[in-house]
């Protein structure tokens, strides 16, 4: 007998019943928790592969928002005359808006194809499927933090000190993650059945970008339109993130509140849809 193998006492093992129908939500959460190491490894794999296969690696995370900031400053600020808000120079304003936006956009791209992209896993092994879209909204956080370092550098460059309410930044980041997860759940699950999704993404991202105050500020939007714009949860995320990071200025609390509620609704509905179809993933994919 192989001495390496421990003798098993099966009596101590838990009993599980494979049966039709969905497991309870609590059971699902417990399962995701049990597989948290897999979440870590999937994120680690995606990040590692990206940095392994690209020449510039981590530099892309910085280059992308930086170049965008330069272009926005020239075109939207200089040429089109769009003003910065929160009493900061336009480059800082644009950069602070680009960070959460780029995070969100890269989550959309990655999560939408995540289930289909991992079909080899989905059809061969069991693990809570939720882990996959979850991993694709956690991974882009790395890029976000790298770019955040540049934001800190820009603060130093402009000789500014953040306001005390910078401490609520994590709240808006969490809201960005929640929104990305909610949309990602919908898109990843829809993509299993409808392979049109990847074609829709660039289009969707572009429209969404202009519907969100990234190059412009919320103050330039007429008051009565702001609540409607806040139905786009990214409005609250980006305006809130700017307010928290840049300081000085009037926070649009009702915008934050509306966006937060919409974001939660998207996530709940996304979870509902994902849970409804996930048991057929292995059959359909």
């Amino acid at each position: 007998m192989d001495p390496q193998i421990e003798v098993l006492d099966l009596g101590a093992s838990r009993l599980f019943r494979v049966k039709p129908g969905r497991p309870s939500f609590a059971a699902e959460v417990a399962e995701v928790w049990a597989y948290r190491e897999l979440l870590f490894f999937l994120v680690w794999r995606d990040v590692k592969l990206r940095y392994k296969q690209t020449v510039l690696g981590a530099l892309w995370a910085i280059l992308q928002p930086f170049v965008a900031m330069v272009i926005f400053t020239i075109i939207f600020h200089r040429f089109a005359g769009i003003k910065a808000e929160y009493h900061v120079p336009y480059p800082l304003f644009a950069f602070a808006g680009m960070l959460p936006w780029l995070y969100f956009a890269s989550c959309l791209t990655q999560s939408s194809t995540s289930i289909v992209g991992n079909s080899a896993l989905v059809t061969k092994v069991f693990f809570p499927r939720l882990i996959i879209p979850l991993a694709s909204v956690v991974g882009p956080l790395i890029d976000f933090f790298l770019a955040f370092v540049v934001l800190v550098g820009m603060f130093l460059w402009y000789g500014r000190i953040p306001h005390w309410h910078v401490i609520v930044t994590p709240f808006f980041l969490a809201l960005a993650l929640l929104t990305a997860l909610g949309v990602g759940l919908w898109l990843s699950a829809l993509n299993v059945r409808y392979r049109d999704v990847p074609y829709v993404i660039p289009f969707l991202t572009q429209i969404w970008f202009f519907a969100t105050p990234v190059v412009y500020g919320l103050e330039s939007v007429p008051l009565k339109w702001r609540s409607i714009m806040a139905l786009n949860p990214m409005t609250g995320v980006i305006d809130g993130f700017r307010w928290a990071v840049l300081g000085r200025g009037v926070p649009h609390y009702h915008v934050f509140a509306i966006s937060a509620v919409v974001s939660i609704l998207i996530t709940i509905s996304g979870l509902w849809y994902f849970k409804r179809v996930e048991r057929h993933f292995a059959d359909v994919i």
């Binding site: 192989d2 009993l15 494979v18 039709p20 296969q53 069991f126 292995a282």
Partner: protein, 432 residues
């Protein structure tokens, strides 16, 4: 105590789903529209039961073989037990963690190194990082990839790749291990270690379910088999019995065949009436060990005195190759037989046939001088049986080698060695 208890497990697929059926948005919209307008019929409701009312129980520590043709439902059953997909109806109670090894190297990424893939693969198979760290050296040693740990696996040979993948899974040690026919790959030496590992897992109280088409391998590893056909469980029992059933379903032939007076093949002078495969004790058997004698018994009826009738057998292996032909060369039968019933048995010596299934064709021939023999009564693929090698290590020509011996025959040879050893002690060795 049971490890798995399945009760009427069933899985239904829509035909389209099996053909990789994802829709485009357009199709779905069209469908929705036609449903609204009631003009076109809804989606074709054609479904197929990949698995139907399958019930069985597996005891803790059992190594169970799951056999059946392609499309019989083996993989579907594994996927249900492994929770990859869910049943349409029925249920299965499973005690303990299930590790499914439906494919070698699930989740391996070609760009990552061996070391990285070990951790990734282990996490995918549900192993804790602390366990992987603890077992890391064992995994690497078992796979024999020490030198290439930091090389991306895309540069591995296929053998190395398979060894590493199996090694991770083999060290997973779940309470229940589901293994698809992944052992068919890899070199013989590695296969041997994989089998050894699976046997040890069984002895330590782990339950192993093994899917395979490879009857000799199944016979060696499992004491009990479950046979699926068309999604239904058609046999569950000791290995020999179930292999027999499998042969029947596979070739349409079994170890016994009888003919009634009406359908008996032959002429009005002679007719075949029955045939069977027997073991040394003359009991009918479907499974014969390589190191045992087997007999092919032919029963025929001579209706009237006429020409001579010589029993003739042709044995074919799985590949359809004629292994040998033989005839009853007793001079007594070169004369006309008296009417009556005859039962003749051809005894096949041990250590002749190789592992695998054997199909037997029968005939009774008349030898006319200077002409081709005349077949008086014949029946192709009349019988089938399975040759296995489950003897204790060393009793057959395989010795303690666990791999498959290729070839049409499996003779047990006498080997002699002459040496000029430096110490002059051993000059001749003759095991015989």
């Amino acid at each position: 105590m049971f490890a798995i208890h399945a009760e009427k497990l069933s899985k239904e697929y829509r035909i389209g789903q099996l053909a990789g059926g994802y829709d485009t948005l357009r199709e779905s919209i069209n469908r929705g529209v036609s449903r609204l307008t009631h003009r076109a019929p809804a989606v074709s409701g054609e479904t197929v039961w990949a698995l139907k009312d399958v019930s069985f129980e597996v005891e803790q520590g059992e190594v169970l073989g799951l056999i059946g043709r392609n499309g019989a439902g083996k993989t579907t059953l594994m996927r249900l037990l492994g929770r990859i997909t869910e049943p349409t109806s029925g249920y299965a109670d499973i005690r303990g963690r299930v590790g499914s090894l439906l494919e070698v190297g699930t989740g391996f990424h070609p760009e990552l190194t061996g070391r990285e893939n070990i951790f990734l693969n282990a996490a995918i198979l549900g192993m804790r990082r602390s366990d992987v760290t603890r077992r890391f050296d064992d995994i690497v040693e078992f796979a024999e990839v020490q030198k290439f740990l930091d090389t991306p696996v895309k540069r591995y040979s296929s053998g190395m790749y398979v060894r590493l993948a199996f090694s991770v899974a083999a060290h997973l040690e779940p309470e229940i291990l589901l293994v698809d026919e992944v052992l068919a790959v890899g070199d013989a030496e590695f296969q041997k270690r994989c089998l050894g590992r699976m046997e040890s897992l069984g002895r330590s109280g782990r339950t192993v379910i093994f899917i395979s088409h490879n009857m000799p391998l199944v016979a060696r590893l499992c004491s009990r088999l479950v046979l699926l056909e068309g999604g239904e469980l058609i046999a569950d029992g000791p290995t020999e019995e179930v292999i027999g059933r499998y042969l029947v379903s596979q070739s349409g032939s079994s170890a016994v065949r009888t003919w009634t007076a009406e359908d008996a093949p032959g002429t009005d002078s002679v007719r075949l009436r029955a045939a069977r495969v027997v073991g040394e004790t003359e009991a009918t058997t479907e499974v014969v060990d390589v190191s045992e004698t087997a007999g092919i018994e032919i029963e025929f009826e001579v209706l009237r005195e006429g020409p001579e009738f010589v029993p003739w057998i042709d044995l074919y292996n799985e590949a359809g190759t004629l292994v040998f032909s033989a005839l009853d060369n007793d001079a007594a039968w070169r004369e006309p037989r008296r009417p009556g019933r005859y039962a003749t048995t051809a005894w096949i010596p041990p250590h002749l046939l190789n592992e695998g299934s054997i199909v037997v064709s029968l005939s009774l021939k008349t030898f006319a001088p200077g002409r081709k023999p005349i077949r008086q009564a014949e029946f192709d693929s009349a019988l089938a049986f399975q040759v296995v090698d489950r003897g204790e290590a060393g009793s057959s020509s395989r010795g303690d080698f666990a791999g498959r011996m290729a070839g049409t025959v499996r003779p047990l040879l006498r080997w002699t060695t002459r040496t000029e050893a430096a110490d002059g002690l051993l000059v001749r060795h003759d095991r015989g």
